[in-house]
Amino acid sequence: MVKEPRETGVVDQARPLGVYVHFPFCRSRCPYCDFAVAVPRDIPHEAYADAVLAELAARAPDYLGKNGPRLASVYFGGGTPGLWRPAALGRVLEGVRQRFRGGPDLEVTVEANPGDLPLATLLDLRRRGANRLSFGAQAFQDRLLRRLGRRHGSAAIAASLAAARRAGFANLCADLMFGLPGQSMPDWRASLAALSDLRPEHITAYALTVEAGTRFGALERAGRLRRPGDGEVADMYATCHETLIAAGYEHYEISSYSLPGRRSTHNSLYWTMGTYLGLGVSAASFLPLAAGGGFRRANPRSLATYLRQVAVGADDPAPELAEYRSTTQLEEEALWLGLRTADGVDRAAHAESYGHDPLALPGREAAARVCADAGWLDITPTRLRLRPAGFLFADEVTVRLWRGAGTDAPQRAQRTERSQRTK
C-alpha cells in the first residue's frame, strides 16, 4: 500500500488547495446514483462531524507544507449535505479554515436538493460561511423527476433559488440531466429555458450515465430501460450548448456553464491538477509533490469502515485506493483533464510542469492531427483545445493522444525500410 509521503516529499505549495467534504446521507436513494450514500432514519450529525474533524487533524499536515498553500475552496458534496445541521457543518468548515489560509475569495459550496432548505436554514448556512449553493434541479417535468426518484417537484426549483437569493447567496448553481428515460427533446428545451430564465450563476448539464450497480443499471441489463440513444443524446448536448450560449452563459467545461466570472473554483481544481484534500466517506484526494509526481487516494466507501477507522483516531483511515502517480503519468492525466475545459491545455505551462510540449511525445502530433481533421481539436501555437463539437469526443481524443501513433503508419514504415536498405 502506498502511504502519503510524510518523508518522501512535500506538497507543491504553488498550487491552490481545495477541501472536499463528503456527506454520505440522503432521505432516499435515487435509482441512477452510485455515490457512497446511506439512508438512515437518524442522521448522526455531530458524530459524523467529529469523524471528519478527526480525519482532518490527521491528514492536514501532509497538505500544509511549510507555509501552507492557498485555500481556494471548501466543497460540501454528497449525498445531501443540505441535510446536515448547519451547526455541525459549520464546525467542520471552521476546522478547515483554522488549519488552512483562505483568502477573501474563498468559495464555500454546499450541495442541496430543491425544497429541502427553509429560509432559516439558508440564513444559518450563509452566516456560518457558505457562499455558494448547488441545487440538484435535474429537470422541470414532474414525471421525469419522479422517474429519477427525486423528492422535489419542478416548482420547488424556482422557489429554492429565490429563497437562496433572499438569504444572501450571490452564487448559485443548478444541475440538469439529459438523456433520461422518457425525456424528449421538447422536454429538454423546456428545462433549459426554464433554468436559464432563473439566471443561476452556474449550470451543470450532464448526460445520464447508467452505472452497473444502480437500479437503472439493473433495468438496463434486463432490457427494460428505454432511453434516448447516442445520436439523440448528442443532439441534446448540442441544443444545450446553443441554448445556454444564447442565454449569455459561457461553456467552460464539457458539462459546465457559467455566467462570466462565475466558474466553479472547486471543480476547476480537478481539471487543472490543483491540490485537493477529500474528507469523509469515499472522498478522493490528490496531493501533488513539489518534486513532481503525486498521490491519489480515496477513502473507504463504507460508512461503518470509515467511522471505525477514524474512531481509532491514531491515524488516517486506511484508503480504499492509494496510488503514486509519476510525473509521466500525471502528464497524461493533465492532458486528459485539461482537454475537458474550454481553455484546453496551455502548451507553455504544460512544458513548464512536465518538461515537454504536450505534442512532443512519439505519435502525439500525428494523433492530434487526426483529431483536428475530424473537427474535434484546435491546435494553436499556444494551446490544445477541443472545439465545442469536439467536447462530445473528449474521451476519443484523449485515448488517441495517449496511445500516440496512428495514421502516418505506411510513411513511417517506408522510412524504416529505406534506412534499412542504406545500412
Binding site: 447516442d230 464539457i254 472522498a283 473528449a394 524504416t416
Partner: protein, 600 residues
C-alpha cells in the same frame, strides 16, 4: 558402451487428453528413479508454457528410463512423446517411426474416447505393438470390465491381458514397465552397418544452440564424429552427445536403437529438418531412411505490427523464432493498407496461431495477422504461370486464364457410423472420392482428393465434431488442379483494402461476400464518420453494409472522486485502440483481418 539392442525398448503413450497420460509418464519417471518427487512438477514432458496452457504437445519430447526388470536385467526404456495435432502429423509420424510399441491408456470409467482411437489408427499404421492399460481404477466409478470390452469392440485388439493401473496411487506401474519389456519388441539394428540415424526433432537452446533429438538405427554415434545430414547435404562435427533422463546427461556413445540428443554447431533449426537421415560423413550409408519430407508450409498469411515503428522488432523476433521452428517461412511483404510486414508460411492454422501467440507473448508485439491462404498457381492468358500465396498480388481478372489450387490426398479412418457424415463433409468441401474400404469391422478408411484450402480451414474441427472425435486424418500433397476461383475484395469507404482480399470458389462467393460484410459490421467499431463496407468481385459490388458514425465518446461527469476510476476506463479504451490498425483513416481491429475464416 551403448546398451545392446536386446535391452532397449522404445515406446510412446497413446491416451485421450485427460485420461492420465502425463500423470502416468510422471509416475513411470518416479518409479524408475529418474525423477524424485521433489523435482516433479505437473506434466514434466510438456515444457513450453503454451503447451501446458493449451494442453497440447507441440514439440516431441523424450526421456530415458533405466529399469531393472524381474529377470534381473537392466533395460533402457525410451519414452517418446508425440505432438497431438494434425498440423504436426508429419512430426507425429516420425516420432512413431522411432518406436516399436505404444501403451494404450484408457480411463477405467470413461472407456475408449475418440482421440485415443485416432491415435491407435496411426500407431497400427506404423506396426507398433500395442499394450493396453486401464487407468484410474482407483475411481469409485471405475468399470475395468467395460473398458476392456470397449477396447476389444471399438479398437479390435485383445484386451484380456490389459494392465489395471492407477497413475494416481501407483498401482500397476511395475506391471506396465514389465509389459514394456516383454510385450514390445526390441529395436532391430546392426552396430556393424554404416551409421544411420533418424532425426526426430530439433530445437534451439540458448546455451547449447540447435539440439537434435535422434534415434540411432544402425551403427554408433560418437562424440567428435563427423556426421552428414543427408537431405540437407551438410556435414557437421558432433560437439556433445547425451540423453534425457529426464534432465540432459552427456554420454560418449549412442548405439543402435538408442534415443538421445546431439549438438553439432548447427546454426538454425531449419538446417536440421525432422525426418532427415544422419550418417557418417566419411562412410555414409547407401540410402536414407524412408519417409522424409522437406519442410513445406501449407498456409500463408501476412504478419504486420499494429505499430509500424516496431517493424524491425518483428523482424528480429521472427529470426529468433526461426532458430527454434524450422517449419515456418517468412519473407518481407508490403501492403498498401498495413505497411511493412512479413508473409509467413505455416504448417496449418494451429501452427499459425502458435507462432502469432509466441510472437506477441515472448516478444511483446501487437500484431495483425491477415487471413491465411494456400499457394495458388495462376496461369495468365499469355501462358505464363505465377505461384501466388497472397490474394492481393493476383493479376487483373482479365489477364487470368485459369487458377489452379493445391490438392491433397486425404485418408480418414473412422468407425462405420460416421461414414455418411464424413462423406457429406468431403463433398461439401469439393472433394473427389478415391477410395472407401473396411479394415476390420469397426474401422472404415475413406480416401478423398480435396482442395488444400478446404482442408486447412476448419476441416479438421468439422471432421472431429461430425465423428464425435473418433475419426483421424492424414494427408499428402497431390499437385495442382484447376478450379473456378475468384478473388473476393473488400472495399472500405470505396477503397480496396488489399489485406482483406480472399480467394474463394465462385459458387460460394456471393454468400461469403454477404456474410463477410455482416461480420465486418460487427467487428469494426464506430468511427467519426460513416464507414461503408462493400464486398466485390472484380468491379462488381456483391454486398454492402454501413457502420454508422460515432456520435459521442465522452465521460459526462468528471469530478475529483472519480478521476482514478474514470482514468482506468479510458486506459481500457486505450488498450483496445492499440489492437486496431489504421487503414487509410479507418481503424480496423485485428480480428477483422481474420473475419473471412469466420464465415462458413
Amino acid at each position: 558402451m551403448p546398451t545392446p539392442t536386446a535391452q532397449i525398448r522404445n515406446f510412446s503413450i497413446i491416451a485421450h487428453i485427460d485420461h492420465g497420460k502425463s500423470t502416468l509418464a510422471d509416475r513411470l519417471l518416479e518409479f524408475t528413479g529418474a525423477l524424485s518427487q521433489r523435482e516433479q512438477k505437473d506434466q514434466f514432458l510438456d515444457s513450453m508454457d503454451l503447451e501446458r496452457e493449451r494442453g497440447i504437445t507441440i514439440k516431441a519430447a523424450t526421456v530415458r528410463l533405466s529399469y531393472q526388470a524381474k529377470d534381473g536385467q537392466t533395460y533402457e526404456l525410451n519414452l517418446i512423446d508425440t505432438p497431438g495435432h494434425v498440423d504436426f502429423h508429419y512430426e507425429v509420424s516420425r516420432s512413431l517411426a522411432a518406436c516399436e510399441g505404444a501403451l494404450l491408456v484408457v480411463d477405467a470409467s470413461q472407456g475408449v474416447e475418440a482421440q485415443t482411437l485416432a491415435n491407435v489408427y496411426m500407431a497400427t499404421e506404423h506396426n507398433l505393438a500395442i499394450v493396453p492399460v486401464i487407468n484410474k481404477i482407483d475411481l469409485p466409478s471405475a468399470d475395468p470390465g467395460n473398458a476392456k470390452r470397449q477396447i476389444e469392440d471399438v479398437i479390435g485388439i485383445d484386451a484380456s491381458g490389459a494392465i489395471l493401473a492407477s497413475a494416481k496411487d501407483g498401482r500397476g506401474i511395475e506391471e506396465i514397465l514389465d509389459a514394456v519389456v516383454h510385450q514390445i519388441p526390441p529395436p532391430v539394428g546392426d552396430v556393424g552397418k554404416p551409421l544411420k540415424v533418424l532425426l526426430l526433432d530439433s530445437w534451439y537452446d540458448s546455451y547449447r544452440g540447435v539440439v537434435l533429438l535422434v534415434r540411432v538405427v544402425d551403427g554408433t554415434l560418437r562424440c567428435k564424429q563427423k556426421i552428414r545430414l543427408l537431405a540437407a547435404g551438410r556435414d557437421y562435427e558432433i560437439v556433445s552427445l547425451g540423453a534425457f533422463a529426464p534432465f540432459p546427461k552427456d554420454v560418449d556413445e549412442l548405439g543402435p536403437g538408442e534415443v538421445g540428443f546431439l549438438t553439432a554447431s548447427i546454426k538454425e533449426v531449419a538446417d536440421a529438418r525432422v525426418g532427415d537421415t544422419i550418417t557418417c560423413a566419411s562412410k555414409p550409408c547407401d540410402k536414407p531412411l524412408p519417409g522424409f519430407q522437406p519442410a513445406k508450409p501449407m498456409v500463408f498469411a501476412g504478419i504486420f505490427p499494429t505499430d509500424p515503428a516496431r517493424y524491425e522488432d518483428l523482424r528480429d523476433a521472427l529470426d529468433k523464432l526461426r532458430l527454434n521452428d524450422g517449419s515456418f517461412s517468412r519473407e518481407p511483404e508490403v501492403s498498401a493498407a498495413l505497411g511493412f510486414g512479413f508473409r509467413c508460411g505455416f504448417l496449418g492454422l494451429l501452427h499459425m496461431e502458435i507462432v502469432q501467440e509466441r510472437l506477441e507473448r515472448e516478444y511483446d508485439l501487437d500484431l495483425v495477422t491477415t487471413a491465411p491462404t494456400v499457394r495458388f498457381q495462376v496461369v495468365r492468358r499469355d501462358g505464363s504461370i505465377v505461384e501466388l500465396d497472397n490474394p492481393a498480388k493476383f493479376p487483373a481478372e482479365g489477364d487470368i486464364d485459369r487458377i489452379e489450387e493445391p490438392v491433397i490426398g486425404a485418408t480418414l479412418h473412422t468407425p462405420p457410423e460416421y461414414v455418411g457424415g464424413l462423406i457429406k463433409l468431403c463433398e461439401e468441401r469439393r472433394g473427389t472420392q478415391t477410395g472407401l474400404s473396411y479394415a476390420g469391422e469397426r474401422r472404415v478408411i475413406i480416401r478423398y482428393d480435396l482442395p488444400l484450402s478446404e482442408v486447412v480451414f476448419g476441416f479438421y474441427d468439422r471432421m472431429k465434431s461430425i465423428s464425435r472425435g473418433y475419426a483421424s486424418l492424414d494427408y499428402e500433397p497431390k499437385g495442382y488442379r484447376a478450379a473456378d476461383l475468384v478473388r473476393l475484395d473488400l472495399l472500405v469507404n470505396g477503397d480496396r483494402v488489399d489485406s482483406l482480399s480472399a480467394v474463394v470458389h465462385r459458387d460460394t462467393s456471393y454468400i461469403k461476400g454477404r456474410d463477410l460484410c455482416i461480420k465486418m459490421k460487427e467487428l469494426i467499431p464506430m468511427q467519426q464518420f460513416e464507414v461503408a463496407i462493400q464486398a466485390a468481385i472484380g468491379s462488381r459490388v456483391i454486398a454492402k453494409t454501413v457502420v454508422k458514425a460515432l456520435r459521442k465518446n465522452v465521460t459526462a461527469k468528471c469530478y475529483g472522486g472519480d478521476i482514478t476510476r474514470k482514468r482506468k476506463l479510458l486506459e481500457k479504451q486505450k488498450e483496445g485502440k492499440k489492437r486496431m490498425k489504421q487503414v487509410g483513416n479507418v481503424e480496423i481491429p485485428q480480428e477483422a483481418f481474420l473475419a473471412i475464416l469466420k464465415v462458413d
